[in-house]
């Protein structure tokens, strides 16, 4: 997913002179072709995220579309003030490409695990947050980032994530994508957990339970109409994400559903709702992304069992 994303930054730069790339201190060889062919628009500025984000804002104020890439934790935590003020207050087209969303960097520990990136960025006015499910979806997203207004955070997965999307569903920033229909339950997911939701739905179908899956690659702005439409057709709603249960997709969906329950006459108030995600802890083991996902039960088996329990 990261490779596809950066390859596409190169492609976009080749065809659009507004495009500028800034890295912090990325792996040797990153975007070598970009650097060789368009050196004046390629920047590698060292371990200085606050400066990098401010500098990107300056370039964007002058008409550039700036893509920044570094590890998601450093890109969101370290320079939060710069993101809020330099990017969002000025409303400039800077794309923050966060490597290792969620627990991708499990072996490196909590300093590198982006478990609250969506939560903190979601609270900032004007910020757009996207989390594609796989490299193919990234390929559909990236051309749209060129002219989309304002700042955007692009959450990357591990790389080599299984391909679960296809061209049948055209991508649009801000649109939720129905990946599977079903009248018994709705599983809402974002990023790489789409795969888990689809697996769980297939498993549930064997028991005669039809679970719909709504993929939300744009967490902000949230596609509220699509969410309410799909949630309104089923008795139970479940969210799945590789992110803290506080402030991420689960919270965003809960906010929408809770308000709809209170204010919409057509909304059944007894709708049951659950979140699957990283609990309110710092991951306390190393291992791998997969092993931590298992530890926190962000897995297809848990999704299926929770849906069964909610329907029981």
């Amino acid at each position: 997913m990261r490779k596809t994303c950066l390859d596409m930054v190169y492609d976009l730069a080749k065809r659009d002179p507004r495009v500028v790339f800034i890295g912090s201190d990325l792996g040797v060889g990153t975007l070598d072709r970009f650097k060789a062919e368009m050196p004046e628009r390629f920047f590698m500025e060292g371990v200085s995220e606050a400066n990098v984000v401010g500098m990107a804002a300056g370039l964007a104020l002058e008409g550039h579309v700036v893509y920044i890439n570094t590890i998601a934790t450093f890109l969101t935590r370290r320079c939060f003030d710069q993101i809020v003020l330099d990017l969002c207050l000025h409303d400039v087209p800077v794309r923050l490409i966060g490597s290792g969303g969620g627990m991708v960097y499990a072996p490196l520990g909590p300093t590198h695990e982006a478990i609250e990136d969506i939560a903190i960025l979601r609270a900032i006015p004007r910020m757009t947050i996207v989390a594609p499910a796989d490299a193919d979806e990234m390929r559909r997203l990236m051309p749209l980032t060129l002219d989309y207004p304002g700042p955007m955070y692009i959450r990357l997965g591990k790389g080599g994530d299984p391909i679960v999307t296809d061209d049948r569903t055209p991508f649009a920033i801000g649109k939720a994508l129905p990946m599977r229909e079903g009248g018994d339950a709705l599983v809402v997911t974002t990023g790489i957990t789409l795969k888990l939701a689809l697996e769980a739905a297939a498993d549930l179908q064997r028991d005669g339970i039809e679970a719909a899956v709504l993929h939300v690659p744009t967490i902000k702005p949230l596609d509220t109409p699509a969410l309410l439409d799909h949630a309104g057709r089923v008795p139970v709603v479940l969210t799945v994400e590789e992110h803290s249960v506080i402030g991420g997709l689960g919270s965003a969906v809960a906010e929408v559903i809770a308000e709809a329950a209170g204010y919409s006459g057509s909304w059944p108030a007894a709708k049951r709702f659950r979140r699957i995600g990283i609990p309110d802890v710092f991951p306390d083991q190393y291992g791998s992304q997969a092993s931590l996902m298992e530890r926190y039960e962000i897995c297809a088996a848990r999704i299926a069992s929770l849906v069964r329990a909610m329907l029981a």
């Binding site: 060292g46 002058e62 710069q82 330099d86 207050l89």
Partner: protein, 300 residues
């Protein structure tokens, strides 16, 4: 130029007389302070001559067309000094003086820190310290990209702008230099040899809680900027002549960004405000206090 910087770790003094224009700009600041019932008045008095000389003698701009692409860019990174900037921008015709009466009011465009997109002539929203210089680097790099000749193949540059690139001036506070992002940016500006970027430091040696050497010592400040790769000069930041002379020579070194340490007095112009931290930010100045300030700045 100041060849022997004033001794530090001693409350600074500056006896440079203020001419009529400098006193008028300060009176405008006092009127705005009164209108908003608040304001960083001493911080504004400190930076008046720096901004005045920039806008009078240095910057290329068109007040009637504030986004003119060929303009030089100026960022007041110490955003809390905005009362001085507002006075200068009004004087230059960026917006009418009546706006000053709505300082910090719900229907005004002028807040306690300057905002991009609201105030004509303001290039960046500042107020959180340590943001102006990184943004200024982006502006300076963009100016350099615009200057590049059209390539024989591949995409055309964004905006064709022959001639010297637009220059970027960033005015920083001294307390602001406590921020790590200032020094990240200093490394970056030197790396890119941004000769079209100049940072002016309003070095009044007073921050909010106390003197800079009590809170977080910056000295030797000029040596620090020099060591970071800047061409550096030190001037009396209240001497219009010295500021004009040094700014006429910018860039001060070839292929290097410029840093100008402006030795100033917080509250300069009214003796009981000078070096008086109770005036760093003034709330609810009484009618008598406002009249006293205006009298001290009498232009006749």
């Amino acid at each position: 130029m100041i060849t022997n910087p004033p001794p530090t770790k001693r409350v600074p003094t500056n006896t440079t007389p203020l001419d009529r224009r400098s006193r008028e700009l300060r009176r405008q600041i006092v009127h705005t302070l009164a209108a908003g019932n608040r304001g960083h008045v001493a911080s504004a008095f400190s930076v008046v001559e720096i901004l005045r000389v920039l806008y009078d003698s240095v910057l290329r701009f068109d007040a009637k067309n504030p986004t003119w692409p060929q303009r030089d860019r100026c960022i007041l990174s110490k955003g809390h000094g905005c009362l001085a900037l507002y006075a200068v921008l009004v004087d230059k015709g960026f917006f009418p003086a009546e706006e000053l009466n709505k300082f910090c009011k719900p229907d005004g465009i002028l807040g306690g820190h300057p905002e991009y997109g609201k105030v004509p002539g303001v290039e960046a929203s500042t107020g959180s310290l340590g943001h102006g210089l990184p943004i200024g680097i982006g502006l300076a790099l963009a100016a350099r990209l615009r200057r590049r000749p059209a390539p024989t193949s591949g995409p055309l540059p964004l905006i064709s702008a022959p001639g010297a690139p637009q220059r970027v001036f960033v005015v920083c506070g001294d307390g602001e230099c406590d921020e790590g992002s200032v020094w990240e940016a200093a490394l970056c500006a030197a790396k890119h040899r941004l000769s079209n970027l100049a940072v002016l430091i309003d070095y009044n040696k007073q921050q909010s809680y106390g003197t800079t050497w009590e809170v977080l010592d910056l000295d030797p400040l000029a040596d620090k900027w020099r060591a970071f790769g800047f061409a550096v000069a030190e001037v009396d930041g209240h001497s219009v002549a010295q500021l004009q002379a040094v700014l006429a020579r910018v860039p001060l070194g070839p292929d290097r960004p410029t840093a100008i340490i402006c030795h100033t007095i917080k509250g300069k112009g009214v003796d009981y405000v000078e070096n008086n931290l109770n005036w760093h930010h003034k709330n609810r100045a009484s009618k008598e206090e406002i009249e006293s300030l205006l009298a001290a700045l009498e232009t006749e």
